[in-house]
Amino acid sequence: MNINYIHKIAAGIALTVVFSSCVKNENSFGYEYMPDMYRSPAQEAYVDYGEVRSWKSNDSIKNTQSAKLPPMGTIPFQGANADPAYSMPYKRLPSKAMIVTHSAMSLEYSDEDYDASALDVNPMRMFESNVEHGKQLYTTFCDHCHGEKGAGDGIIAEKGLIVPPSNAFTKAEGQMFYSITYGKGDMGSHASQLNQKERWQVISYIKSMSGGVVIPDALKTLEMEKVTDIIGTGSTVELLPETLAGH
């Protein structure tokens, strides 16, 4: 009789263990059938190397920062076919005040470069494909604040959370590039989200919104003069000879 009771109690405890583990715990990743290499010992993004299950525990590197900034001045590798011109560091420097206002980290600083950047011209001609990609990027990265047409009436601006100036896009192309790269006023730097090529594409789209002439892709191989003949000289910045030099 005694043994019978012990059996029953043991069965009860076993059942508790089995079924209480079925209960959903949102913090638990559940069971792994054999430690299934969820914690990778290989070089991967977002891996806690202290958590890798191996023959040796690695407590010293547990919970340390895995995502880090590359050393200052690093040039990103963007594939063998990428144009190196767009990987080189931006020639305009942030102003000294931007260290505290926009967390701008640089090897050198210059207070004149914002004004000087007005002279920079878009090195990517305003081809249809560039403008189209620029539009995609604009809807992802800009329009929730700057609004669909750039009037400063995006959803976040309408709620009064961040109000961009309604004339932000009347600035020179080079100044817009400067502001996307380092930030301006309440806007932070978008350099980590958009590479240089993409920044110019966004600016191409912005210029096309305010009447800049878009060049059809079919004319890509033509000389600058012929393009001007076909399109006309009505457009402003994008058809200056300097803009097209070397492209």
Binding site: I9, P41, A67, S103, G152, I162, S166, K184, S192
Partner: protein, 442 residues
């Protein structure tokens, strides 16, 4: 009497209406409108009417300058000159000198702007921006089972202990009286005889209970090794996708911007948070949200009082939610940029979540999103069966992709292969080697 009352009411209504009209006329007069537009155009990037931003709050600025006897118009158009001239009000401003460039507006325009700013009152917060009970059913559907089991085990323990007590009682009695006591009919044997009498009921009940236990047990055991549906770990910051991607309609890729270029979608870095939260230090949802934003400021090294970066940064320990085993290669850019698969097809309707969560195949199949075409699958989410099911059924959009033009040219040379691929008129990933082991395992 009645008539008199009616008359009185009418005059009252009329005065009310008239005064309302008068008020409307004042508040929507043309100068106020101009002031708003001018403020937005020239000042709003740095200044707010009521709160300090990149520049100080502007409400009451005019009164302050006039009280000190200084010329605010000269300041607006050339701040540096006023500062250099040592004008008292200019020196009193706590912000860095020369931070503001001359704006270049006329005296009338400044008047309009300052009038708008002085009359400005904070807008009421939006009432129905966030739907708090989006999916009440999915949160805690297993808790009743837990209580049932705990109750059952407690009952079992009570019965067992009662039995033990009875045994001990007889043992003691036996010792005291020195002879064997005839046992009364025990509870156990009572139950047994009752069961014998109601054999039909007992067998049906037994069948049902055993069946249920086996069913749930098997279902739970089957989940071992699967990516757990509903995994929603606590994060260091209670970030809400509902507010950011839902109510504020920020694109997924604004924060997870490496998704189109890289293998991983990217946990946004703190500088991306600060693109907005430098200006937004207070949550509209209340104090809890504001405390969460303060955590971002701490991580970014942003001092909201001085409005400066201190340079003392601190990492945020996010918990990774969608974790693939190391032996499988998955590339986001391949699926998002080339495959044009919607985020929701694997991650569910994230706009209704707070922190990151693993969705389920069924939940995703039931989603209906405007303008988005989702592939419907049957296997459990993020398992290999699920991957290859999609590779075998989902159409590949080959339009405008030169890679597929090349494949098409090569295919045309082998007529039989071409025929077998294009039999159903559609192109699947499987037909380009999407079922090759080494595509994902190497």
């Amino acid at each position: 009497m009645n008539l008199f009352l009616l008359k009185k009411l009418k005059t009252k209504d009329l005065t009310l209406g008239l005064s309302f009209l008068f008020f409307m006329l004042i508040s929507f007069s043309s100068t106020a409108q101009d002031g708003k537009a001018l403020f937005k155009q020239n000042c709003a990037a740095c200044h707010k009417p009521l709160k300090d931003g990149t520049g100080p709050a502007l409400q009451g600025a005019k009164a302050k300058w006039e009280a000190a006897g200084d010329d605010i118009y000269a300041w607006v158009n050339n701040p540096q000159a006023q500062y250099d001239a040592g004008v008292e009000s200019a020196l009193a401003i706590q912000y860095q000198p020369g931070g503001m460039a001359g704006i270049g507006v006329s005296k009338e325009e400044i008047d309009a702007i300052l009038k708008y700013v002085d009359e400005y009152t904070a807008p009421l917060p939006p009432v129905t921006a966030i739907n708090t009970t989006a999916n009440p059913g999915t949160e805690q559907n297993n808790s009743w089972l837990m209580w049932l089991i705990i109750g059952g085990i407690l009952a079992m323990l009570i019965v067992a202990l009662w039995g033990v007590r009875k045994q001990l009682y007889y043992a003691v009695k036996e010792k005291e009286e020195g002879k064997e006591v005839e046992e009364e009919e025990s509870f156990g044997s009572e139950v047994k005889s009752w069961m014998g009498r109601n054999l039909k009921l007992v067998s049906v009940l037994g069948f049902v209970i055993t069946g249920t236990l086996v069913y749930y047990g098997a279902e739970e055991l089957y989940k071992v090794g699967l990516v757990p549906e509903g995994y929603n770990p606590e994060q260091p910051i209670a970030f809400s996708h509902k507010i950011h991607a839902g109510a504020n309609e920020i694109d997924c890729q604004y924060c997870h911007n490496s998704v189109s270029k890289s293998k991983s979608a990217g946990i946004p870095t703190v500088n991306v948070c600060m693109n907005c939260h430098k200006a937004i230090g207070e949550a509209t949802s209340g104090e809890k949200g504001t405390a969460e934003i303060a955590k971002i400021h701490k991580a970014a090294g942003w001092d909201p009082d001085k409005r400066q970066y201190t340079g003392k940064t601190e990492p945020i320990r996010w918990v990774k939610v969608h974790n693939m085993p190391d032996h499988v290669y998955f590339n986001h850019s391949q699926h998002v940029t080339v495959g044009e698969i919607e985020c929701e097809n694997c991650h569910g309707d994230v706009k209704t979540y707070t922190t990151g969560k693993i969705s389920g195949t069924e939940t995703i199949n039931n989603l209906e999103l405007e303008g988005k075409k989702l592939v419907k699958l049957s296997r459990p989410l993020l398992t290999m069966g699920w991957c290859i099911e999609c590779h075998a059924t989902a159409d590949v959009s080959t339009k405008g992709n030169k890679y597929y033009d090349e494949i098409h040219d090569r295919l045309k040379k082998d007529k039989e292969l071409y025929k077998s691929v294009m039999e159903d008129g559609k192109v699947k990933v499987k037909e380009f080697g999407g079922w090759e082991c080494s595509k994902c395992h190497y």
